[in-house]
């Protein structure tokens, strides 16, 4: 089976053809925003990473930024740097060039001030937009698709409806030879033994358990309790009582395909298949990590509904709560609440979701894209 996508020079498949205005650090963020504001077709993000980074943090931040910069959904990049940051615009641009993408690197200190950077950025951006408009979609096999699966704003219906439907769709893509990521390590606490049993071999099973244990240890080291953060106040209001209950519902989005490996936050997968990415429970940070890891599209399951999107990848909202699917219909792409009301089976919604994903891959816009939501946050290493 095929979808209509953009085949890049490095042979990766894109499902969008974005011009990305890319701030390398906090000091370049406002300027990048001013450039993007003058280019209605461009996307950008708010980079709140300070100019100077600690040794522990820099690796993860750089991996994430690079994952965005080389992402196949991005057709061209205007890189905006300040001039004194740890991860420089020039070094990032160099690696983008190797991926064969058109890229310009503007350094504020060299260009002489905000207004000249904005003028140059807009001028180059317009040229890039013209170049991008000439690139046509072509038939690409669905096995080139990578889906990141996220859940957020969960309630009990997440585990009963939205997550099982997402798991079903994940299984369909794996059967077709594609790639999917399960994420959110803290939301595996109490369910890791179930997941480990579903690993491709014992070693990966041990890695899954070790990843979850390390997360729990870090939490204990902070001296703090999960209760209050996980389950979140909204989760509790929705009927979820404990992290174990949330986790056992959350892993349904993994489907039944065996887990091939554990990826670090923002790490790119090398071989197609089903993975666990070690990411936080905070939705946007987790989504950002999976996109950096190569996901071109995100399935976002929810019970209570949420509007968020991402600058470079479509986010598909699947709501398991029939009441919230109606109240938040503006923001929900797939109503999995029909499983709760008995109108549809898990398989029925799973197939509907998979069909919808193929349409989105070929260009149909999700609700978050229509509203222009472009949330971004990197999971930071703070010690």
């Amino acid at each position: 089976m095929n979808f209509r996508g953009f085949l890049r020079n490095d042979n990766r498949a894109g499902i969008r053809n974005h011009l990305l205005i890319f701030p390398t650090c906090m000091s370049a963020s406002s300027t990048a925003k001013l450039i993007a504001g003058q280019l209605p077709g461009a996307v950008s993000f708010d980079n709140q990473v300070e100019n100077q980074l600690s040794k522990e943090d820099v690796e993860q931040v750089e991996r994430t930024l690079l994952g965005f910069a080389t992402h196949p959904n991005v057709g061209a990049i205007v890189m905006v740097g300040f001039g004194k940051e740890t991860i420089s615009a020039d070094s990032l641009a160099e690696q983008v060039r190797m991926s064969g993408k058109p890229v310009a690197s503007l350094n504020m200190m060299e260009c002489g001030g905000i207004k000249s950077v904005v003028a140059k950025g807009v001028q180059i951006g317009k040229q890039f937009e013209e170049e991008l408009s000439l690139i046509q979609r072509v038939d690409i096999h669905v096995n080139e698709l990578a889906i990141g699966i996220e859940c957020g704003g969960s309630d009990t219906t997440s585990g009963l409806a939205a997550n099982p439907a997402a798991g079903f769709a994940s299984d369909l893509l794996i059967e077709d030879g594609g790639t999917t990521f399960l994420s959110e390590t803290p939301e595996l606490i109490g369910a890791e033994h179930v997941l480990a049993n579903n690993a491709v071999n014992e070693e990966i099973g041990r890695q899954i358990i070790a990843t979850v244990n390390k997360y729990e240890e870090n939490l204990k080291k902070s001296g703090m309790d999960f209760r209050g953060a996980q389950p979140s106040p909204g989760n509790i209001q929705g009927g979820l009582s404990t992290i174990e209950e949330k986790s056992l519902g959350a892993i349904y989005k993994s489907g039944t395909a065996p887990i091939k490996g554990v990826l670090q936050y923002g790490e790119r997968f090398k071989v197609k298949g089903h993975y666990l990415m070690n990411s936080p429970g905070y939705d946007i940070e987790s989504i950002t990590g999976m996109i950096a890891g190569g996901a071109q599209i995100i399935i976002f399951t929810t019970g209570r509904g949420t509007p968020v999107g991402s600058p470079i990848a479509p986010v598909v909202k699947v709501c398991g709560n029939p009441k919230m699917a109606d109240i938040m219909k503006d923001n929900i792409d797939i109503n999995a609440g029909k499983i709760i009301t008995g109108e549809k089976s898990i398989e029925g919604v799973g197939r509907e979701l998979y069909d919808y994903i193929l349409k989105v891959a070929s260009g149909e816009k999700t609700k978050a894209e229509i509203f222009g939501f472009q949330e971004f946050a990197i999971n930071r290493v703070i010690s």
């Binding site: 406002s30 001013l34 939705d283 946007i284 949420t306």
Partner: protein, 313 residues
Amino acid sequence: MALKGYIRENGQVGIRNKLLILPSVLCSSSTSAQIADALPNVVSIANQAGCAQVGDDLTQTERTLMGFGLNPNVGGVLIVGLGCEGVNPLGLANKVAESKKLVDYLVIQQVGGTTNTIEKGIEEANKMVNAIDEPKRNVDLSDICLGIVIDNSIEESKLIVLSKVIEVLSDSIGVVIIPKRHQSYFSDAKELVYGKTVTEKGIYYTASELGNVALMTGMVASGAQTIIHFTEDGDPAGSSISPVIKCSVNEDIFEIFWEHIDLDISAPLAQNNESLISSQLLSVVTNTINGIDTKSEMLELNDFAIHRILPTF
């Protein structure tokens, strides 16, 4: 020169009269920005936190968001929440309302989706903008809380002069907050918890070893109505509610970045002329208080970042 500002119900003095659309979590930040963008003099902040946080890190985020609502430059606050986040939008609204300023809140999951929330938000914000409109009255420098940001790269010899400048400013300005890194220059400086509201006059130091924006954000949360940023590198960081006065200590940087730098003090600094620098700065501060836009305000450079002390879980 007479100083004019907005005297709030609780006696605090604002030098701007902004309506702040305050997102309790990242998930409602874009919605808040879209509401703010629709109306003049309405601002928002790009909150990237607000959920899946624990311990002191959560309370620090809550304190900072609350501090932005309480900042005297803000005449009214419309809090926009998602409805399932760790920072409770209603709790935030109640805390800010203790200052007696105009506060309201919207929760996306209760209002029902983006279109309804933005529509209701704009309608509400429009009413609030009119309600907070008030005349300026006479105020005094002693009513001002000034945040001082100093680039890490500034060398010792310049710092010695700058610290004398700050001493002079603190003679007339009520509260001065400096970065913790420079506390040794000020024997009487008291410690200020990041983002905590200052209630008594004096010199305070707050957490440093952070990026400039996180430091500025903490100072604004503590009540700074304006910030002086002594810059060696020309970092353009600005704030949406408190005007940032950019003051270059490096002539070359001023030449590159004059568009966003208000003042170059490199020459008097080289001559150790602290009295000239102080009087120049006091004159810029006076103009800023009286409503003249700083360059970062003109360019609408609005940055925001909360100093995080634990990772997100």
